[in-house]
Amino acid sequence: MAEATPTQHEPHPVVKEKKIIELPEHIVEIVSDSGEGAQKAGQTFGAISAKMGNGIWTVEIIPAEIQPPPRTITGASGIRIRLGSFYITNVGDDADLIVAFNEQVLLGRVDTGNLKPGAIILLENMWRTHKDPAIREAYTKTYDRLVSEGYKVIEVPMEEECLKYTISPRRGKNMFVLGMLCNLYERDLELARKEVYELWIKKGEKVADLNLKLFNAGYAWAEEHLDFKFRIPSAGITEPQVVMNGNVALALGIIASGMEVCAMYPITPATSASHYLSEIFEHVGGIVHQAEDEIAAIGFAVGASYAGKCAVTITSGPGMSLKTEIIGLASMIEVPLVVINVQRGGPSTGLPTKVEQGDLLAALFSTHGDAPKVVMACSTIEDCFYSVITARKIAETFRLPVIVLSDANLATGQQPFPRPRFSRDWVAPPIDQSPVPPGTKPYDWDPKTGLSRRIIPGQPNGMYSLTGLAHDREGKVAYEPWINQEGARSRSMKLAAFQKTLKPPKVFGDPEGDLLIVGWGSTKGAIEEAVTRVREKGYRVSALNIKFLQPMASGIKEILQRFKKVLCIEINYSDDPGEELIDENNRRYSNLAWLLRARFLIDVDSWSRVYGRPYKPGEIEQVILEKLKEIK
């Protein structure tokens, strides 16, 4: 860890020598009161780093309230940037360095355990001399505490320095901070200045110029006063990338898939996808329809899809619960439909802004009766984009609802991924509108696959009345018992036919060993990173991420069988076997563990927590090391 020499007695000595610390990765946080631009500084820093070929992951730190009072612990607003010399797939462990605009928002991060012991803190020092004695006291108290706890606290005269260039430093500090960070991390100066310029030029030459000055000031201040620099070598990424969050990726996936109707009702953390989509969907003839509630939204989507325009409805937990009846309808009447659930903490209103993977079993089973549907999960931000395209194809080919599970972690994280190359195959081919031969049946189920030709309203000779009641091949209400059986069977066979197209997922690590960690969705990056670490220590551990959860690909059982022990790690609730009341008769497993146990008759174990945050690779590593002790 770097030596940070400045003290409060001799505030800013000019340094003569720099220590250059080379590391494979660093986690940086910038926190401020909301409105002080920490996020903008962090995003720009992330973009510069990505352009320099580093792997990055950024995630916003969002206060619970819309306008939290300034200088409060819960008001911390900001951003975390993880940069490394390898491809980064998750938020990482604890922060190595944090820039804080005041000591209270800093405490918001320290007290929730987000900083490494001994982490570097770059702290705005204007509060030390503030006219309000209470503020002065709070500042010095916190400063002293953090120093005594071993953090390397460096006081930075941000306000004072910025005042040299602007009368409202509150708005300019973020560029000063960016300059400081660019110096600390040896960012390409020319590239960084260009980014700053482009960020501000929309507001005019004057504004751009001022921000460049502030940036330069920050850069110079760090050069003069900090005696260390970090060198995080490039990951060697050279191909064009796009950087966005998972919700934007979902929205772009909707456009790329050729779907034209998105019906929704606002709900965190899904809504931002609809915000973004609303801005651009009309340019491709699409419509975002905000319905009166989630039931109306999915009804609208089913109607549009029935009429020939494959549609999507996007929601989160509580909205998903409301949609279940019509998901069952779509399954029964075989109308294609894409349902996206950006999961949050549940049940009920739960943790609206926080991550959880608690809706897997609900996605599979919450509809009454047997309602076959496909359930798939997005594991990365890039995957959010492509999953929607795939989902639409499956929905239309197999005439059934496809549920796509994303989550709050993907929705708010940003990660660069290779710029997608447009392909005609993404977009739905035109559907057949010609007259159907007289006598064509709307559910002429193929005896083997259950598939049948879809007829849409407007097609001459095709008139029929679909119904959510049990129905025969002509769509007529079925009164004979065997017809209900035949319909149920046909709908199930479609799922089997689709299952035959799936390839087994790839094992991360060796195909056999002592322990297999199985996950699904957004935990992929953190799990694989943890597995990499323990493998480097010599343990025989591998990982598996299952994308298609219903149906599951063939070959998974064989993969599980090649390990002495299988452990599911997911972000949902499960009972710990160590609980006094818990035994094999009542233990409730994590969602995926239930599924794997039921399907494969393998004694799959589970470990899960509902902290409302993504797992850190470090904590997964600890869980793995503990679990390994049980394997002899």
Partner: protein, 330 residues
């Protein structure tokens, strides 16, 4: 190019002119059920208007009345209880070529579907919504409905229902963007037909409440109106109903009502001592959601690609030293 191409839809010659061309399955309603008369009126309308059966879609919920689509020869969507309106809206949003009709029961529309009812009026999309109001739950065997009169004995209110029935006409007339509100009774078929015909020709969302007899569960609820024609109040106007002599002789209780007068419409609707028949309100100068939101042009594959590339550009991070040309496969 993608999905459905409206340009390529076939123009079908007007060849359908027989009632049988619009008849679907044999109705299975109880004998004497008022739904039969509504079915006949609608079949007549389609025939008279020469609507190709494939261009009509009947959407319903769940209930006796919601079996309606099965008895039409047209496209039908017999969905889930209470949600017919959002489904119909989804159908209409990108298919201006389809004539969308919605048939709901009173429980379907005014109870479980009440949110959608209010918002369908507010959205004002081109379609005809008919509520078969028998003031009872038929399919589930006689439970109280929002429009059941106070004191009605049903299976869930064996001592009589507790609260005054809801007046769907005043509710509808109170919603912003209301565009067409009418009421008919199924036992006067010519006026029923005429009310639905005017609803069909209305530009916007047409709401028609139809008082419908359920001889099985509420055999005499409408007797006061049926036995004494003076308890029927006919609204006449040059822009509304005009009675021929034979009807005018039976239904003497008529008032002239200008359907553009919403205040008078609300007053008339508030008095439930008489069964009103006629057009209460009509205003075609209300924004129509499906028209406002119609795409301006057809999106080609090239346009879709251009939009995506422009968006990718916004999010682009091109590493220095890399090959930043983004070639695409087409």
């Amino acid at each position: 190019m993608f999905g459905l191409d409206l340009e390529r839809l076939l123009d079908v010659e007007e060849e359908y002119r027989r009632l049988e061309d619009y008849q679907g399955g044999m109705p299975r309603w109880c004998s004497g059920c008022g739904d039969n008369a509504i079915l006949t009126a609608v079949q007549r309308l389609l025939r008279d208007e020469g609507i190709p059966p494939e261009k009509a879609v009947f959407v319903s919920g769940i209930g006796c009345s919601s079996r309606f689509p099965h008895y039409m020869n047209a496209y039908g969507f017999h969905g889930v209880h209470g949600r017919a309106l959002p489904i119909a809206q989804g159908i209409k949003i990108r298919r201006p070529d389809l004539h969308v009709f919605v048939n709901m029961g009173d429980g379907d529309c005014f109870s479980i579907g009440s949110a959608h009812w209010i918002h369908a009026i507010h959205y004002n999309m081109n379609m005809v919504a008919m509520v078969h109001d028998n003031r009872i739950y038929g399919l589930t065997k006689k439970q109280v409905s929002p429009t059941s009169p106070k004191g009605l004995k049903t299976n869930t209110t064996p001592y009589g229902s507790y609260i005054e029935g809801l007046n769907p006409l005043t509710v509808t007339l109170g919603v912003t963007n209301v565009s067409f509100v009418a009421q008919a009774v199924e036992w006067i078929p010519d006026l029923l037909y005429e009310v639905i015909r005017q609803a069909f020709h209305h530009h916007g969302f047409s709401f028609v409440r139809i008082l419908q007899r359920c001889p099985t569960y509420l055999p005499d609820i409408f007797d006061p109106f049926i036995n004494d024609p003076n308890n029927i109040l006919i609204l006449t106007h040059e822009n509304g109903l005009q009675l021929d002599d034979s009807l005018a002789r039976i239904y003497k209780n008529q008032i002239e009502h200008d359907p553009s007068d919403i205040h008078r419409a609300r007053e008339i609707a508030s008095d439930e001592s008489k069964a009103v028949v006629g057009i209460l309100y009509r205003n075609e100068n209300v924004d129509v959601y499906d028209e406002i939101r119609r795409p301006r042009r057809v999106t080609t594959l090239e346009m879709r690609k251009a939009v995506l590339e422009r968006e990718f550009d916004k999010f682009a991070v091109n590493p220095v030293g890399g090959d930043n040309h983004n070639e695409n496969d087409e």
